[in-house]
Assembly symmetry: C2
Homo-oligomer: 274 residues x 2
């Protein structure tokens, strides 16, 4: 089986490494617009061979796209003229509705595209973030539509199981809504805390709670701005709800009401403030 | 040297364990209102001996208070009639101005009290959170006032160095202001995220960013309500600033402006969203 990985950053290279450690007999072709990233992935053993041009990836049995999200429309368009009807495509972007729209718009056989998103990864990026066990036991959301070919879905499910991930089929809109709470909101909070601290330097160093709260602010803000713009309504709605809760807490603090403060921190806990 | 530890939870018991591992020749007397917590600390080797009544702790050379914050006024009042002028007292509460006020109000020799706060600890509590190396290399803020006896400060500095912590002398008001940003705001955000998720359960499980962002919400909300009420103005002001930033991000999302989104996430980064 011939697998192509387009985009050899932390996630793409981890897929390659996981394939090399799997029982699947496959030849892995890799492509990255950045020749250094491509060479590093080859040297790390994440791919068996490098494609010089993106079009060479088109005749793989399965193509996994692991590029930055905004590169996907261009990748689809470059692959489109060369794709065969039986080739399966999937991606790893953490917002799914826009990718499905691009697939419908640019791919000749959009029924063979299955949106995917591994709930794994770190604040690091590039080949140094690549790990063969990155997906072990991790949920991997798949978001087929009514138009998706069941055979394509089944192939992508089997593929992510090969990577030791746990495929989880769900609606793309629900995925984007839920992930905006589970990941986009935490990233927004982490970036906001770090920005606030940068404008208000402290003599004290933060302890464990500060480090946990700000860890993901080491992620690439340009990438996260892209992702949030692609998932802007769900992200905005969760932020508005968080703002409302924080305002209620700030009001309870102003009123010096310990019971109300505790209710804002942990609704429905008992009154044990005394 | 005779040391007394009042309150044998995670921090108090860790101080005891660190003393047992230190070069300081001392006898450690422990007290906790909860006899089970006291017995567990004795069994874990955190203290050499248990006091049956709080007053027995009064004739130690150094008394460390590691009770919940709101217990401190009562502890001061119970110790007060028995204290000798040379005894040094210190505490570990993460907000310092109220403790200094209580010391001035209730202690017969407030110049012998030095407010303290180890920047260490976890979301866990009780004896199971106790570790002999909890303070190793950790900053330990000390907040002397103009009334503080320099000898008392010097003794507490030496004591926390014995625990392998790094004493850091600073103004109490500045401590409370800075720590409200470094720890109180992260706790408020973590509790708020968890409360929002509890009312909006998801099919997806959160990944690493969710776990980091919500870790400290496993802390005791009643304790944090107490602490925030004691440090309410600084906490409220930082929350208002965070709310303003989050609102600007929500507005940038609504306007679908990727550059503005990135500026909100990471002010002063370049425009690299394309």
């Amino acid at each position: 089986m011939r697998v192509a990985i387009v985009g050899l950053g932390g996630i793409g290279a981890s897929v390659g490494l996981a394939l090399q450690h799997s029982a699947l007999e496959c030849a892995v072709l890799g492509y990255d617009v950045n020749p250094d990233a491509a060479r590093e992935a080859l040297q790390a053993g994440a791919v068996d061979q490098l494609a010089e041009r993106l079009a060479e990836c088109a005749d793989a049995a399965l193509i996994l796209l692991a590029t930055p999200p905004l590169a996907i429309p261009e990748v689809f368009q470059q692959l489109a003229p060369h794709l065969r009807p039986e080739t399966v495509l999937t991606d790893v972007v953490s917002v799914k509705l826009p990718v499905l729209r691009w697939a419908a718009q640019y791919l000749p056989y959009p029924s063979r595209f299955v949106g995917g998103h591994p709930i794994a990864g770190t604040e690091h990026h590039g080949i140094r973030a690549a790990r063969a066990d990155l997906f072990q036991g991790a949920p991997w959301a798949l978001t087929p539509t009514e138009q998706t070919d069941p055979d394509a879905l089944q192939r992508v499910q089997a593929f992510v199981q090969t990577l030791r991930a746990v495929p989880l089929t769900m609606d793309a809109a629900q995925h984007d809504h839920e992930f905006a709470l589970l990941s986009f909101a935490p990233h927004a909070l982490a970036f906001s805390l770090v920005a606030l601290h940068r404008e208000n330097p402290t003599q004290l160093q933060g302890g464990g709670s500060w480090r946990s709260a700000t860890r993901v602010a080491q992620s690439d803000p340009a990438l996260w701005a892209q992702l949030m713009a692609l998932n802007r309504e769900p992200t905005r709605r969760w932020l508005e709800q968080l703002i409302e809760r924080l305002q209620q807490l700030a009001d309870a603090l102003q009123q010096d009401d310990p019971d109300a403060i505790q209710q804002r921190l942990a609704p429905h806990t008992g009154d044990t403030t005394q």
